[in-house]
Protein backbone atom coordinates (compact mmCIF):
# COMPACT_ATOMS: atom_id res chain seq x y z
CA UNK A 1 0.00 0.00 0.00
CA UNK A 2 1.19 3.46 -0.86
CA UNK A 3 0.39 6.48 1.33
CA UNK A 4 -2.43 8.71 0.10
CA UNK A 5 -1.56 11.54 -2.22
CA UNK A 6 -3.35 13.82 -4.63
CA UNK A 7 -2.76 13.40 -8.34
CA UNK A 8 -2.86 15.57 -11.43
CA UNK A 9 -2.22 14.82 -15.07
CA UNK A 10 -1.87 18.21 -16.80
CA UNK A 11 -1.96 18.28 -20.59
CA UNK A 12 -0.41 21.72 -21.09
CA UNK A 13 2.94 23.10 -19.98
CA UNK A 14 1.38 26.19 -18.37
CA UNK A 15 -0.86 24.01 -16.20
CA UNK A 16 2.09 21.79 -15.29
CA UNK A 17 4.27 24.71 -14.21
CA UNK A 18 1.53 26.43 -12.25
CA UNK A 19 0.89 23.17 -10.35
CA UNK A 20 4.59 22.88 -9.61
CA UNK A 21 4.84 26.47 -8.46
CA UNK A 22 1.78 25.96 -6.26
CA UNK A 23 2.85 22.71 -4.59
CA UNK A 24 6.63 23.21 -4.47
CA UNK A 25 8.52 20.57 -2.51
CA UNK A 26 5.27 18.79 -1.56
CA UNK A 27 4.94 17.65 -5.18
CA UNK A 28 6.80 14.97 -7.08
CA UNK A 29 6.76 14.63 -10.84
CA UNK A 30 5.95 11.24 -12.29
CA UNK A 31 7.15 10.07 -15.66
CA UNK A 32 8.29 6.43 -15.83
CA UNK A 33 7.71 5.95 -12.11
CA UNK A 34 10.28 3.17 -11.85
CA UNK A 35 12.24 5.07 -9.20
CA UNK A 36 9.49 7.26 -7.73
CA UNK A 37 7.03 4.45 -6.92
CA UNK A 38 9.80 2.30 -5.44
CA UNK A 39 10.86 5.24 -3.26
CA UNK A 40 7.29 5.93 -2.16
CA UNK A 41 6.73 2.30 -1.29
CA UNK A 42 9.91 2.16 0.77
CA UNK A 43 9.17 5.48 2.50
CA UNK A 44 12.15 7.37 1.01
CA UNK A 45 9.75 9.72 -0.83
CA UNK A 46 6.50 10.94 0.67
CA UNK A 47 4.97 13.49 -1.72
CA UNK A 48 1.51 14.92 -0.98
CA UNK A 49 0.99 15.55 -4.64
CA UNK A 50 1.98 13.64 -7.75
CA UNK A 51 2.08 15.39 -11.10
CA UNK A 52 2.11 13.02 -14.07
CA UNK A 53 4.10 14.54 -16.94
CA UNK A 54 2.96 12.07 -19.56
CA UNK A 55 -0.11 14.07 -20.54
CA UNK A 56 2.08 16.89 -21.89
CA UNK A 57 2.65 15.53 -25.38
CA UNK A 58 5.69 17.63 -26.32
CA UNK A 59 7.63 16.07 -23.44
CA UNK A 60 7.42 12.70 -25.20
CA UNK A 61 9.28 13.97 -28.27
CA UNK A 62 12.47 12.36 -29.48
CA UNK A 63 13.93 14.20 -32.44
CA UNK A 64 17.18 14.80 -34.28
CA UNK A 65 18.27 18.01 -35.91
CA UNK A 66 21.54 18.30 -37.86
CA UNK A 67 22.33 21.60 -36.14
CA UNK A 68 21.23 21.07 -32.58
CA UNK A 69 21.60 17.32 -32.27
CA UNK A 70 19.42 14.79 -30.49
CA UNK A 71 16.62 16.05 -28.26
CA UNK A 72 15.36 13.54 -25.69
CA UNK A 73 12.14 14.75 -24.04
CA UNK A 74 11.33 14.09 -20.38
CA UNK A 75 8.93 11.25 -21.13
CA UNK A 76 11.00 9.40 -23.75
CA UNK A 77 11.30 5.83 -22.52
CA UNK A 78 14.39 3.70 -22.83
CA UNK A 79 12.49 1.43 -25.21
CA UNK A 80 11.60 4.38 -27.44
CA UNK A 81 15.24 5.47 -27.60
CA UNK A 82 16.35 1.92 -28.44
CA UNK A 83 13.79 1.64 -31.23
CA UNK A 84 14.86 4.88 -32.91
CA UNK A 85 16.76 4.30 -36.17
CA UNK A 86 18.56 7.68 -36.03
CA UNK A 87 19.77 7.05 -32.48
CA UNK A 88 20.98 3.57 -33.46
CA UNK A 89 22.91 5.00 -36.37
CA UNK A 90 24.35 8.16 -34.82
CA UNK A 91 24.69 7.43 -31.09
CA UNK A 92 25.77 3.77 -30.70
CA UNK A 93 27.14 4.31 -27.20
CA UNK A 94 23.69 5.41 -25.97
CA UNK A 95 22.22 2.24 -27.47
CA UNK A 96 24.88 0.05 -25.86
CA UNK A 97 24.11 1.44 -22.40
CA UNK A 98 20.33 1.67 -22.82
CA UNK A 99 20.11 -1.97 -23.86
CA UNK A 100 21.85 -2.96 -20.60
CA UNK A 101 19.58 -0.82 -18.42
CA UNK A 102 17.28 -2.93 -16.19
CA UNK A 103 14.74 -5.25 -17.82
CA UNK A 104 12.47 -5.07 -20.84
CA UNK A 105 9.44 -4.25 -18.66
CA UNK A 106 11.30 -1.47 -16.87
CA UNK A 107 12.74 -0.11 -20.14
CA UNK A 108 9.15 0.16 -21.39
CA UNK A 109 8.38 2.62 -18.57
CA UNK A 110 11.68 4.11 -17.39
CA UNK A 111 12.80 7.31 -19.08
CA UNK A 112 16.24 8.52 -20.12
CA UNK A 113 15.65 11.84 -18.36
CA UNK A 114 14.50 10.03 -15.20
CA UNK A 115 17.71 8.04 -15.20
CA UNK A 116 19.83 11.20 -14.96
CA UNK A 117 17.42 13.08 -12.65
CA UNK A 118 17.71 10.21 -10.16
CA UNK A 119 21.46 10.96 -10.35
CA UNK A 120 22.53 7.63 -8.96
CA UNK A 121 26.27 7.02 -9.35
CA UNK A 122 25.30 3.79 -11.13
CA UNK A 123 22.75 5.32 -13.51
CA UNK A 124 23.45 3.62 -16.83
CA UNK A 125 22.79 6.62 -19.09
CA UNK A 126 25.00 9.16 -17.29
CA UNK A 127 28.42 7.97 -18.48
CA UNK A 128 27.49 7.62 -22.15
CA UNK A 129 25.73 11.00 -22.13
CA UNK A 130 28.83 12.56 -20.54
CA UNK A 131 30.96 11.11 -23.34
CA UNK A 132 28.66 12.75 -25.89
CA UNK A 133 28.83 16.13 -24.11
CA UNK A 134 25.10 16.16 -23.32
CA UNK A 135 23.30 19.19 -21.95
CA UNK A 136 20.27 19.31 -19.68
CA UNK A 137 17.45 21.78 -20.30
CA UNK A 138 15.49 22.72 -17.18
CA UNK A 139 12.15 24.49 -17.37
CA UNK A 140 9.80 26.23 -14.94
CA UNK A 141 7.10 28.89 -15.04
CA UNK A 142 9.86 31.50 -15.18
CA UNK A 143 11.61 30.09 -18.25
CA UNK A 144 14.26 27.63 -19.26
CA UNK A 145 17.96 27.24 -18.52
CA UNK A 146 20.57 24.86 -19.83
CA UNK A 147 23.44 23.29 -17.93
CA UNK A 148 25.95 20.64 -18.92
CA UNK A 149 25.32 17.16 -17.57
CA UNK A 150 28.51 17.52 -15.53
CA UNK A 151 27.10 20.63 -13.86
CA UNK A 152 23.68 19.01 -13.44
CA UNK A 153 24.71 16.09 -11.22
CA UNK A 154 26.34 17.40 -8.05
CA UNK A 155 26.45 14.38 -5.76
CA UNK A 156 24.86 11.04 -4.87
CA UNK A 157 21.25 11.53 -6.00
CA UNK A 158 21.78 15.30 -5.97
CA UNK A 159 21.26 17.67 -8.86
CA UNK A 160 20.89 21.41 -9.44
CA UNK A 161 17.14 20.99 -10.14
CA UNK A 162 14.92 23.41 -8.19
CA UNK A 163 11.56 22.43 -6.66
CA UNK A 164 9.56 24.27 -9.33
CA UNK A 165 11.64 22.93 -12.24
CA UNK A 166 11.55 19.88 -14.43
CA UNK A 167 14.16 18.60 -16.82
CA UNK A 168 12.22 19.03 -20.02
CA UNK A 169 14.82 17.45 -22.26
CA UNK A 170 18.38 16.31 -22.74
CA UNK A 171 20.24 17.67 -25.75
CA UNK A 172 22.99 15.50 -27.21
CA UNK A 173 25.07 17.58 -29.61
CA UNK A 174 26.27 16.31 -32.98
CA UNK A 175 29.93 16.85 -32.04
CA UNK A 176 30.67 13.13 -31.75
CA UNK A 177 28.23 11.73 -34.30
CA UNK A 178 30.09 9.15 -36.35
CA UNK A 179 32.13 8.06 -33.35
CA UNK A 180 32.21 4.47 -32.14
CA UNK A 181 31.45 3.58 -28.59
CA UNK A 182 30.72 0.82 -26.15
CA UNK A 183 29.58 0.51 -22.53
CA UNK A 184 30.73 -2.21 -20.18
CA UNK A 185 28.83 -2.82 -16.97
CA UNK A 186 29.79 -5.16 -14.15
CA UNK A 187 26.85 -6.94 -12.56
CA UNK A 188 26.63 -9.50 -9.76
CA UNK A 189 24.51 -11.84 -11.87
CA UNK A 190 24.04 -12.45 -15.59
CA UNK A 191 20.46 -11.19 -15.43
CA UNK A 192 19.42 -7.63 -14.74
CA UNK A 193 21.20 -5.81 -11.95
CA UNK A 194 22.36 -2.36 -10.95
CA UNK A 195 25.83 -1.65 -12.23
CA UNK A 196 28.53 -2.51 -9.72
CA UNK A 197 30.88 -0.42 -11.83
CA UNK A 198 30.75 0.69 -15.46
CA UNK A 199 32.90 2.33 -18.11
CA UNK A 200 31.80 4.08 -21.29
CA UNK A 201 34.28 4.75 -24.08
CA UNK A 202 33.72 6.82 -27.20
CA UNK A 203 36.25 7.20 -30.00
CA UNK A 204 35.85 10.05 -32.40
CA UNK A 205 38.42 11.08 -35.01
CA UNK A 206 41.68 11.42 -33.13
CA UNK A 207 40.16 11.41 -29.67
CA UNK A 208 39.05 8.97 -27.01
CA UNK A 209 36.50 9.99 -24.41
CA UNK A 210 35.98 7.92 -21.27
CA UNK A 211 33.39 8.14 -18.49
CA UNK A 212 33.07 5.96 -15.40
CA UNK A 213 30.02 5.03 -13.33
CA UNK A 214 29.72 3.76 -9.70
CA UNK A 215 33.28 4.67 -8.82
CA UNK A 216 32.69 8.09 -7.21
CA UNK A 217 29.73 10.09 -5.81
CA UNK A 218 28.96 11.24 -9.36
CA UNK A 219 29.61 9.72 -12.77
CA UNK A 220 33.04 10.87 -13.92
CA UNK A 221 34.13 12.17 -17.30
CA UNK A 222 37.90 11.93 -17.75
CA UNK A 223 39.74 14.51 -19.82
CA UNK A 224 40.10 13.58 -23.49
CA UNK A 225 42.86 11.26 -24.67
CA UNK A 226 44.54 11.08 -28.08
CA UNK A 227 43.50 8.06 -30.13
CA UNK A 228 46.91 6.41 -29.70
CA UNK A 229 46.88 6.75 -25.89
CA UNK A 230 48.08 3.62 -24.12
CA UNK A 231 45.87 1.67 -21.75
CA UNK A 232 48.26 2.65 -18.98
CA UNK A 233 47.75 6.37 -19.67
CA UNK A 234 43.97 6.05 -19.45
CA UNK A 235 44.13 3.75 -16.42
CA UNK A 236 46.40 6.21 -14.64
CA UNK A 237 43.93 9.05 -15.26
CA UNK A 238 41.10 6.82 -14.04
CA UNK A 239 43.00 5.87 -10.88
CA UNK A 240 43.51 9.54 -10.08
CA UNK A 241 39.85 10.40 -10.66
CA UNK A 242 37.91 7.63 -8.94
CA UNK A 243 37.06 7.36 -5.24
CA UNK A 244 35.22 4.04 -4.98
CA UNK A 245 33.57 2.84 -1.77
CA UNK A 246 32.76 -0.51 -0.20
CA UNK A 247 29.07 -1.30 -0.21
CA UNK A 248 26.63 -4.20 -0.34
CA UNK A 249 27.41 -4.86 -3.98
CA UNK A 250 31.18 -4.77 -4.07
CA UNK A 251 34.44 -3.75 -2.38
CA UNK A 252 36.26 -0.58 -3.39
CA UNK A 253 39.31 -2.64 -4.42
CA UNK A 254 37.25 -4.74 -6.84
CA UNK A 255 35.62 -1.60 -8.26
CA UNK A 256 39.02 -0.01 -8.87
CA UNK A 257 40.31 -3.22 -10.42
CA UNK A 258 37.34 -3.61 -12.78
CA UNK A 259 37.52 0.03 -13.95
CA UNK A 260 41.01 -0.70 -15.22
CA UNK A 261 40.00 -4.06 -16.64
CA UNK A 262 37.12 -2.48 -18.55
CA UNK A 263 39.40 0.27 -19.89
CA UNK A 264 41.73 -2.39 -21.27
CA UNK A 265 38.87 -4.35 -22.84
CA UNK A 266 37.30 -1.26 -24.40
CA UNK A 267 40.62 -0.02 -25.72
CA UNK A 268 41.31 -3.44 -27.24
CA UNK A 269 37.99 -3.10 -29.12
CA UNK A 270 39.08 0.32 -30.39
CA UNK A 271 42.33 -1.07 -31.75
CA UNK A 272 40.78 -4.29 -33.06
Amino acid sequence: MLHDFAYAAPTAREELFSLMAEHGTAAAVLSGGTDLLVNIRSGIARPDYIINLKGVSELAELSFDAGQGLSIGACVTVTKLLADATVRQKYPLLVSAASQLATHQLRNRATIVGNIVTASPCGDMSSPLLCYGAEVELASASGTRTVTLQEFITGVKKTVIKPDEIVQRIIVPTTYVGGRGNYLKLKRIKGHDLGVVSVAMLTYGTKIRVAIGSAAPTPLLLSEFPIDASAETIKQAARAAISPIDDVRCTKEYRAFMVEEFIERLLAEVHA
Binding site: D4, Y7, R41, S42, I50, Q105, R109, H192
Partner: protein, 165 residues
Protein backbone atom coordinates in the same frame (compact mmCIF):
# COMPACT_ATOMS: atom_id res chain seq x y z
CA UNK B 1 -10.87 9.01 -5.59
CA UNK B 2 -10.86 9.23 -9.36
CA UNK B 3 -12.89 7.50 -12.00
CA UNK B 4 -10.95 5.39 -14.48
CA UNK B 5 -12.10 3.50 -17.56
CA UNK B 6 -9.95 0.81 -19.07
CA UNK B 7 -10.20 -2.38 -21.04
CA UNK B 8 -8.86 -5.62 -19.56
CA UNK B 9 -8.77 -8.70 -21.78
CA UNK B 10 -11.35 -7.00 -23.98
CA UNK B 11 -13.80 -6.20 -21.18
CA UNK B 12 -14.52 -2.61 -20.20
CA UNK B 13 -14.07 -1.68 -16.53
CA UNK B 14 -15.15 1.60 -15.00
CA UNK B 15 -14.27 2.11 -11.36
CA UNK B 16 -13.50 4.79 -8.78
CA UNK B 17 -10.00 4.25 -7.44
CA UNK B 18 -7.72 5.87 -4.90
CA UNK B 19 -4.95 7.85 -6.58
CA UNK B 20 -2.39 5.92 -4.57
CA UNK B 21 -3.53 2.48 -5.75
CA UNK B 22 -1.14 0.61 -8.02
CA UNK B 23 -2.39 -1.00 -11.19
CA UNK B 24 -1.49 -4.36 -9.67
CA UNK B 25 -3.71 -3.81 -6.63
CA UNK B 26 -6.46 -2.48 -8.88
CA UNK B 27 -6.36 -5.66 -10.95
CA UNK B 28 -6.43 -7.91 -7.90
CA UNK B 29 -8.72 -6.00 -5.55
CA UNK B 30 -11.05 -3.98 -7.77
CA UNK B 31 -11.23 -5.96 -10.99
CA UNK B 32 -11.09 -9.30 -9.14
CA UNK B 33 -8.37 -10.61 -11.44
CA UNK B 34 -6.08 -12.31 -8.95
CA UNK B 35 -4.03 -14.21 -11.51
CA UNK B 36 -1.46 -11.42 -11.56
CA UNK B 37 0.79 -11.76 -8.51
CA UNK B 38 2.70 -9.37 -6.29
CA UNK B 39 6.24 -10.54 -5.64
CA UNK B 40 8.70 -7.81 -4.67
CA UNK B 41 6.51 -4.79 -5.38
CA UNK B 42 9.58 -2.93 -6.62
CA UNK B 43 10.06 -3.90 -10.26
CA UNK B 44 12.67 -6.56 -9.60
CA UNK B 45 10.87 -9.90 -9.92
CA UNK B 46 8.42 -9.61 -12.81
CA UNK B 47 5.61 -11.56 -11.11
CA UNK B 48 3.18 -8.69 -11.76
CA UNK B 49 3.93 -8.43 -15.50
CA UNK B 50 0.91 -7.50 -17.65
CA UNK B 51 0.48 -5.96 -21.08
CA UNK B 52 -0.47 -2.28 -21.11
CA UNK B 53 -1.17 -0.83 -24.56
CA UNK B 54 0.75 -3.68 -26.14
CA UNK B 55 3.89 -3.40 -24.01
CA UNK B 56 4.77 -5.41 -20.93
CA UNK B 57 5.00 -3.45 -17.68
CA UNK B 58 5.54 -4.22 -14.02
CA UNK B 59 2.03 -3.43 -12.80
CA UNK B 60 3.38 -2.79 -9.29
CA UNK B 61 5.14 0.30 -10.66
CA UNK B 62 2.16 1.80 -12.49
CA UNK B 63 -0.59 3.75 -10.73
CA UNK B 64 -4.11 2.63 -11.60
CA UNK B 65 -4.92 6.24 -12.54
CA UNK B 66 -2.10 6.12 -15.12
CA UNK B 67 -3.90 3.24 -16.82
CA UNK B 68 -7.02 5.32 -17.44
CA UNK B 69 -7.98 4.69 -21.07
CA UNK B 70 -5.49 1.85 -21.48
CA UNK B 71 -5.85 -1.62 -23.02
CA UNK B 72 -4.60 -4.34 -20.68
CA UNK B 73 -3.98 -8.02 -21.07
CA UNK B 74 -3.47 -10.28 -18.07
CA UNK B 75 -2.99 -14.00 -17.53
CA UNK B 76 -6.78 -14.42 -17.36
CA UNK B 77 -6.90 -13.44 -21.04
CA UNK B 78 -4.63 -16.35 -22.00
CA UNK B 79 -7.29 -18.97 -21.43
CA UNK B 80 -10.14 -19.26 -23.93
CA UNK B 81 -13.77 -18.99 -22.78
CA UNK B 82 -14.16 -22.78 -22.90
CA UNK B 83 -11.25 -23.10 -20.46
CA UNK B 84 -8.73 -24.37 -23.00
CA UNK B 85 -5.17 -23.24 -22.44
CA UNK B 86 -3.08 -21.18 -24.83
CA UNK B 87 -0.16 -22.79 -26.65
CA UNK B 88 2.33 -21.22 -24.23
CA UNK B 89 0.33 -22.42 -21.21
CA UNK B 90 0.16 -25.94 -22.66
CA UNK B 91 3.91 -25.97 -23.25
CA UNK B 92 4.51 -24.83 -19.65
CA UNK B 93 2.31 -27.68 -18.40
CA UNK B 94 3.98 -30.24 -20.68
CA UNK B 95 7.46 -29.32 -19.50
CA UNK B 96 6.69 -28.84 -15.80
CA UNK B 97 7.75 -25.21 -16.17
CA UNK B 98 5.54 -24.55 -13.15
CA UNK B 99 6.36 -25.61 -9.62
CA UNK B 100 4.87 -23.36 -6.95
CA UNK B 101 3.27 -21.34 -9.74
CA UNK B 102 3.71 -17.89 -8.25
CA UNK B 103 5.94 -16.57 -11.04
CA UNK B 104 3.98 -18.30 -13.80
CA UNK B 105 1.41 -15.63 -14.76
CA UNK B 106 4.14 -13.00 -15.12
CA UNK B 107 6.47 -15.45 -16.81
CA UNK B 108 3.83 -16.36 -19.38
CA UNK B 109 3.14 -12.69 -20.13
CA UNK B 110 6.89 -12.14 -20.61
CA UNK B 111 7.23 -15.18 -22.87
CA UNK B 112 4.23 -14.05 -24.90
CA UNK B 113 5.83 -10.63 -25.38
CA UNK B 114 9.19 -12.20 -26.29
CA UNK B 115 7.52 -14.37 -28.94
CA UNK B 116 5.77 -11.35 -30.43
CA UNK B 117 9.14 -9.67 -30.88
CA UNK B 118 11.15 -12.81 -31.67
CA UNK B 119 8.93 -15.61 -33.01
CA UNK B 120 11.77 -18.16 -32.93
CA UNK B 121 14.18 -17.14 -30.16
CA UNK B 122 17.42 -19.02 -29.60
CA UNK B 123 18.13 -20.55 -26.19
CA UNK B 124 20.31 -17.51 -25.37
CA UNK B 125 17.57 -15.12 -26.47
CA UNK B 126 15.06 -16.95 -24.29
CA UNK B 127 17.37 -16.79 -21.26
CA UNK B 128 17.97 -13.09 -21.87
CA UNK B 129 14.26 -12.55 -22.58
CA UNK B 130 13.10 -13.94 -19.24
CA UNK B 131 15.80 -12.19 -17.17
CA UNK B 132 13.06 -9.85 -15.97
CA UNK B 133 11.21 -12.65 -14.18
CA UNK B 134 12.43 -14.53 -11.13
CA UNK B 135 11.54 -18.18 -10.60
CA UNK B 136 12.80 -19.66 -7.35
CA UNK B 137 11.64 -23.23 -8.03
CA UNK B 138 12.41 -24.50 -11.49
CA UNK B 139 15.92 -23.25 -12.12
CA UNK B 140 14.48 -21.92 -15.39
CA UNK B 141 15.52 -24.98 -17.42
CA UNK B 142 11.98 -26.28 -17.88
CA UNK B 143 10.77 -22.80 -18.80
CA UNK B 144 13.42 -22.50 -21.52
CA UNK B 145 12.46 -25.98 -22.78
CA UNK B 146 8.78 -25.00 -22.86
CA UNK B 147 9.58 -21.93 -24.98
CA UNK B 148 11.79 -23.98 -27.33
CA UNK B 149 8.93 -26.49 -27.64
CA UNK B 150 6.17 -23.99 -28.33
CA UNK B 151 8.33 -22.44 -31.06
CA UNK B 152 8.94 -25.83 -32.69
CA UNK B 153 12.59 -26.02 -31.77
CA UNK B 154 12.69 -29.24 -29.73
CA UNK B 155 13.31 -32.57 -31.43
CA UNK B 156 10.47 -35.06 -30.79
CA UNK B 157 12.78 -37.23 -28.67
CA UNK B 158 13.13 -34.39 -26.14
CA UNK B 159 9.39 -34.08 -25.68
CA UNK B 160 8.95 -37.53 -24.12
CA UNK B 161 9.24 -38.15 -20.41
CA UNK B 162 9.90 -35.78 -17.55
CA UNK B 163 13.59 -35.11 -17.89
CA UNK B 164 14.02 -32.56 -15.16
CA UNK B 165 11.66 -33.81 -12.51
Amino acid sequence: MRKIRLRINGDLYERDVRESKTLLHFLREDAGLTGTKEGCGAGECGACTVFMNGETVNSCLVLAVEADGAELQTIEGETAEDGSLSAVQQAFARHHAVQCGFCTPGMIMTVKDLLQRKPKPTREQIIHGIESNFCRCTGYQQIVEAVLDVTGQLPDSDKEGLKYV
